[in-house]
Symmetry: C2
DNA sequence: TGCATTATGGACTGCGTAGTCCACTACACC
DNA sequence: GGTGTAGTGGACTACGCAGTCCATAATGCA
């Protein structure tokens, strides 16, 4: 594959990721992608011989990279209670900016794909697994520094935190308010803080 | 509408609800419904002049009734810690029985419909609202009996619990394991118990 | 420069699916 | 028992969309 080919392929993947983010997998047609990229029909099948299904799987991987990258920025040095609360605020603000449309980029994708494409489902499973890992290592860092009880199961806590986020986003998407998201994250963080060794200092 | 008409209409709604539960909205075609009910094409449009979209909305209402009814049975007398844990176990068991396929009947529906049909979105919003109300009144009963701190915001707690459930189910559906669901619910219940006045007696 | 390989354009096909139409049947009510 | 309204059957239409094909253009390489 030549330089130009790689560029075209990349352009297709990025544009499709954007479209899927906004419209969902089902509602994103090959014609939409054509319109957004200027690519022709045959190019789509040239670069993704498996057709739309293959393209969707590549987009799933790309979308995972995007989200984890953004999370990494937010979660970098996630080893303080302040950082956790900043993360909470950032997630809520991001959802508000989108007018609560679309839910979680990965969650919506997973939900749309899980029962329909086994390979894509596995990719989303891996995506959540990596996300959980990101959260886990942050909590473990806090544990190592003595801010979290040593007997706290950080992996399960990270999983629960991720679930609260996903559920909160789904309810927020449905209600078109960030309120459920805030309630979910606040409860999850409160639970974490109840496992703190020293009481968090930044709160009342 | 005569007795026979009502029967046919009911048959269509019930069968479609079953199909949507298993296959999702998108994958359920009018031909599927025809096959499942023996109804003819024109009957579908006779009873639901708005076509598939209208039928889906009626099914959303029906599905909400079904879930809330089942929840009511599980949550009846949800005023003890034991009842909460029985509820947790029942939800996990139900998901395991389904091989973790399909997520939450209401959550999946909401996710599939929220960005595509405003009226259906509003129905699902109302569904979650009712569900939250069910959980809230249980928690409030516990509060009234002095088992939960009086300053606990039961409505937010109920919302957070619902979010944990939804997120846990989504992750379980994606991972094909009940583990995320268990982690999510256990963390949510642990948080509630940290707000108990007297320590729950049924646990260690 | 010439040949092979890769990239691109766009017409064409086929299919699944929602929705329409009209003829026919059964039932309720007078 | 006749008449009208509700119920039923199924062929037919329209259309959006995935996927195929082949011709042409650009690019890399010797």
């Amino acid at each position: 594959m030549t330089r130009r080919g790689r560029q075209t392929r990349t352009r297709i993947v990025e544009a499709t990721a954007d479209l899927v983010l906004v419209k969902g997998v089902r509602a994103t047609t090959l014609d939409d992608i054509r319109a957004a990229t200027g690519a022709s029909r045959s190019q789509l099948f040239h670069y993704f011989p498996g057709g739309k299904a293959e393209l969707v799987r590549v987009v799933a991987v790309r979308q995972t990279e995007r989200v984890l990258e953004a999370q990494r920025l937010l979660l970098d040095r996630l080893d303080t209670w302040e950082a956790l609360h900043r993360w909470r605020d950032a997630v809520v603000a991001a959802q508000r900016d989108r007018q609560c449309a679309g839910g979680c980029p990965l969650g919506s994708l997973a939900s749309e794909v899980a029962e329909h494409d086994e390979r894509a489902r596995a990719l989303m499973d891996s995506a959540f697994d990596q996300w959980q890992g990101l959260l886990t290592s942050g909590l473990r860092a806090m544990q190592d520094r003595g801010e979290l009880r040593a007997d706290a199961g950080v992996e399960d806590l990270a999983l629960a935190l991720l679930a609260s986020l996903q559920g909160g986003l789904l309810l927020a998407q449905t209600a078109r308010t960030t309120k459920p998201l805030e309630a979910a994250l606040d409860a999850a963080l409160a639970h974490l803080e109840s496992l703190a060794l020293r009481r968090p200092t930044h709160k009342a």
